[in-house]
Amino acid sequence: MARPTETQLRDILVDMVEARAQGGRLWNLQRQGQVGTVAPVDGHEAVVAATAHALDPLHDWIFPQYREPLALQRFGPEVLEQYMLYNVGHPDGSRLPPSVRVAPIAISLATQIPHAVGLAWGMTLQNEPGVVTVFFGDGSSSEGDFHEAANLAGVLRAPAILLCVNNQWAISTPLHQQTAAKTLADRATGYGIPGVRIDGNDAAEVYDAVDQARQRALHGDGPTLIEAVVYRLGAHTTADDPTRYIPAEELEAAQRDDPITRLATHLASKGLWDDELRTTTEAEALARIDKAFERAITQPLAPDAVFDHCFTSDTPRMARQRNALLEATTATGAAESGVSQ
């Protein structure tokens, strides 16, 4: 049992508050047409930030699904910078420096779970210490990849933490249409691994569960399936209108259990948090995201960047395509070859 200290909890809360604030800014940027579709972090802050704090950024890895980046800053400030590049659609948006042990977003749901298991397995083969934590949603747990990867992890005793964030929804599909299972943690038995179900709105409980799973993995006892129960407080993404399917009362009830409010209340009672701290934390977070956004939109981009890093070197056909593109780009007047209109 490793309950986080109150100071750790305050650090976690700082990350949570920052993520929420930055998520709001990102939402607005999307509404202004400055960035692409965004998946809000609201309601996931405790589970993501507390997990990041229970892990060791120097040795452990995190595979996000897509809601997590803003709450992963403990793994390095580069996460935010890269995520802004991602949001503006820059190809560097999924490249983090080698020191930051966060995998790129895989987009295709649940495909990251076997990646995480493979990496955990590979680390044991290389005698590298560390565990791999992979986030995935309740919806994603219905994909075959979850099953195949969890089973493989069990057989290999891979040092992995399979962290299912059950936020009750997969876009518009409620949990009871996603599965008839009473809990998702129940699935662990079928893979011969421990399964725990925790309150994902309770940062301390998350920290503790992840810490225990981590210790187990580091001691060679293999993977753990954690089901963190939360509620998706925001829209699925900026393209979604949840009022079409989420009953207002249900959402209101969930809002009363907001993970930020809960932890803030607790820490305030200990004299470790107050509105002023919140205000300055938010202000700093916004300053950082604004800076990251400015950097992102001014990040250079070669005219033929579309070809870079597909292979280590261009195939003959790609080389021709690249040349043709460069020629078309440097040809000043488009009138010659284009449509005149």
Partner: protein
């Protein structure tokens, strides 16, 4: 004369689904988020309310199970219409699509009728994340036993979707993301069926033909119209269905024009444009006055937003290929 209404492609697809569900009780819809919210693009809007939760089913998030259970539904005598939220996620179901759906009739030598339609949006231009825009029609067309349909107009979307659902063979029906709201036109009211396997001459012309399908037809027509204004005579052939491929329509127009450009959005190597070129060579070699040129996506994965406009063939690239082919001698 049939009455028509001006609809977006999305509306016409929705209309086709309404029509087919009303017409045939065996038609059932399944997919992710197609019920309560009517699909992430609202293509299935109103169907849940009208036909109820037993005929419009929000499934768990598992493409393999969506396509795989459609096989069983078809064996039960139903006519499943499954939605894959984005074509890129059909990879999750490829073992069921290519290995099962497409073979059920052949394997059982006609005992079972896979009257299955799988709808999926695809194609770029709308700044989606990875795998949401991928054009996989070249890969799909190489799956024997599967028909591949890709409408380019609002009217055809309705007529071809109706035909696909009524077809006793399995069809993958590809809907251009950019076309959902970006393509609109007059669509016949009521029952409207366009037979599968017949191409459409979208523009007549004698100098050169641009062969295309789906959203690229829209671009090809713009190029043809612009060049017509310059005095050239450019035909546009909209394939409409890649499987079955309308060999006669292709050879008729290529024989007349002697020059052809084929447009696709997918990566070039192994894409369906290669198949069209090979077909033209087989059917019309002696009429050809110049090499057939492909305008394709590059041989890289569909890229992120900032690189999209570089990647996706546009009017400029098509026009350049047309001029190059006309100049070639």
């Amino acid at each position: 004369m049939t009455e028509t209404s001006e609809l977006t492609m999305l509306q016409s697809i929705n209309e086709a689904l309404h029509g087919e569900m009303a017409r045939d009780e065996r038609v059932v819809l399944l997919g992710e988020d197609i019920g309560h919210v009517g699909g992430v693009f609202r293509a299935t809007e109103g169907l849940f309310e009208k036909f109820g939760e037993t005929r419009v089913v929000d499934t768990p998030l598992a493409e393999g199970a969506i396509v795989g259970s459609a096989v069983g539904l078809a064996m039960a005598g139903l006519v499943p219409v499954a939605e894959i939220q984005f074509l890129g996620f059909s990879y999750q179901a490829m073992h069921q699509l290519a290995g099962q759906v497409a073979r059920l009739r052949y394997r059982s030598q006609g005992r079972f009728e896979p009257a299955i339609t799988i709808r999926a949006p695809f194609g770029g231009g709308v700044r989606t994340p990875e795998l949401h825009s991928d054009s996989l029609e070249g890969q799909l067309a190489n799956i024997p036993g599967l028909k591949v349909v890709a409408p380019a107009t609002a009217a055809d979307a309705k007529g071809l979707l109706a035909a696909s659902i009524r077809d006793p063979d399995p069809v993958i029906f590809l809907e251009p993301l950019r076309g959902y709201r970006g393509i609109r036109g007059d669509v016949p009211d009521g029952d409207h069926v366009v037979p599968l396997g017949s191409a459409r001459l979208a523009r007549t012309g004698d100098d050169l033909v641009i062969v295309a399908w789906s959203y690229q037809v829209e671009l090809a027509c713009k190029v043809a119209d612009a060049l017509t204004a310059e005095g050239l005579s450019i035909a546009v052939l909209d394939l409409r269905s890649l499987v079955p491929l309308d060999l006669e329509a292709i050879s008729a127009v290529v024989d007349r024009c002697g020059r052809a450009v084929v447009v696709e959005e997918a990566a070039q190597t192994g894409g369906f444009a290669g198949e069209v070129v090979a077909t033209i060579v087989e059917e019309c070699f002696w009429s050809l006055e110049a090499p057939v040129v492909r305008v394709s996506g590059f041989d890289v994965p569909y890229p992120v937003g900032m690189l999209e406009d570089t990647y996706v063939p546009d009017e400029k690239r098509i026009a350049a290929a047309v001029r190059q082919t006309l100049a070639s001698a």
